[in-house]
Amino acid sequence: MLTTYTYPKFEYRTPPEIASGKTLKVPVVVVGAGPVGLGAALDLQLHDIPVLLLDEDDTVSIGSRGVCYAKRALEILDRYGVGEAVCSKGVSWNVGRTFFREQEVYNFNLVPEPDHHRPGMVNLQQYYLEEYLAARAASRPNIDLRWKNKVVSVAQTGKTVTLKVETEDGCYTVETDWLIAADGARSPIRRMLGLDIEGKVFMDRFLIADVVMKADFPSERWFWFDPPFHPGQSVLLHKQTDSVFRIDFQLGWDADPEEAKKPENVVPRIKAMLGAFDGTAREFELEWVSVYTFQCRRMGSFNHGRVLFVGDAAHQVSPFGARGANSGLQDADNLGWKLKLVMDGKAPAVLLDSYSEERVFAAAENLVNSTRSTDFITPKSKVSRTFRNAVLSLAKDHAFGRALVNSGRLSVPAFLITSSLNTPDSAPDTFAGRMVPGAPMDDAPVLENGDPGWLLNKVGNCFFALYFADDPAALDVATVATLSALSFDNIAVQPLVISRKPGTVVGGIPGLEDPRGIAAQRYDAKHGTVYLLRPDQHVAARWRNLDAKKVKAAVARATCNA
């Protein structure tokens, strides 16, 4: 088979504890250097927490696996320092075509909403993402990244977690205050701790093939329901980078995975598919083939004492909608700042319950959406298939039918509207728009000292008070003094003034210009409106008028200090 990608082999080094026989004591261990474990390590080092990151392997994901990285994940990756690499290597697609049997029933063009830094999604093979994250992690002095280091036992007391780690040179012991388990769907940590994960296996198999196109091929997503070349099943074609395309064939539960994987069986299927749209024969080569099944399940709680579960270790969904790695990165995003506050003694350990509460809420939403897509794509009963086909037959001519076609609802971040960390809007303040307490922040173009940039790149990692002003230079002394003294206990709240007019705020408060008023519009802001923003770029609270007491109370609430 052809190869467009050379897998890196990361260097194993003999851990010094093997020779010294000493127990390694560290504040945090992350197990698993996939996208989510690497993300968690990078998040913690942004908070100056030293991290020991262990992985049993010494390379990146084999085969393309995760393909689609959605806007919120890209924004988080920006914070971790790899957003630009992922976006410039990844490919965008806008045109999607949906076919039912022989016919194209409709197509759509996802023109990205203007005035956001990152697009709705980019497609990129997972190995590239891991390579960029691993390179970033290796360049950070605070991350001790150890490849070919396998955790073989784990035990926790109220105060510490003890790990036994196996290498080719022998074993050593690690004692840590906190353990983050990012060790994937089969999570050995979860198993060793005897913890449950509940849900169901979908009784279906999918053949997944990466193919390299030898000639130009449109950057489009094609989705077939019940095509003549693969009757009764669904087929998906997705563009990736390096002229590699991902093709998914639903096989059904009774298919023999070994037979289906053989090139002599795969190649004719792909040929028939590529010719089906317009009759053109297209040359291609196979790069990688696999057969997968999937499960939809999650743990009841993502924190167990001093062990915190992130990504697939905590929750698994069907691949429809790209909610695996995307939601795992949001776990890391949610956890980092909370763990930092708890480790520094600035918040009680119950703040970590809110990590579980918020990410269980998000996981439940992801499970609902990916299960709905799965049920639409692979109907489980005759009547369900009849309704599905009826929707597809109506979609050709009627907008309401198109809206019901569910071939995957792309990963979007959860609006954490039920979170106990939010301070609800209170009368008489009223707001229009989406930026409710718990919402992931909308981006907007801004200027900083005249240089163009993006709102989301100006906030994050600590609490911010975003204050909307008509004229920054005209802010009165009392307001400036209040903005400068919003920190609660030792928890910093960084003031940031944003205005349509250029100008400098007195008192050294940083300012942003919102030249076209897009931020003000998206946040439904007027002069004096203030948003309290969490370190993970979610809205914690908002008011029409600045009141230091209210801001401090909201910070206390968002950190379980109330």
Partner: protein
Amino acid sequence: MALNLNPNFSEAGKRYFNAYSPGDDFYEMLINTHRDLSDEQSELLNARLILLLANHIGDIGTLREALNVAREGV
């Protein structure tokens, strides 16, 4: 009243952050209502459902239009 062929689902008091959510909510409910029924029972359920909804709409002109659209695609 002309037959509405644009997306039209919503639930009172519920806030949607994604355009597809209300339609998906309905579709899931529809499929779940058929859970564990035989094909014959499902057919009966569908007939009862059509009659209930038709009576609720009431306007014969609208129903005639819907019947025609439904028939065209079969």
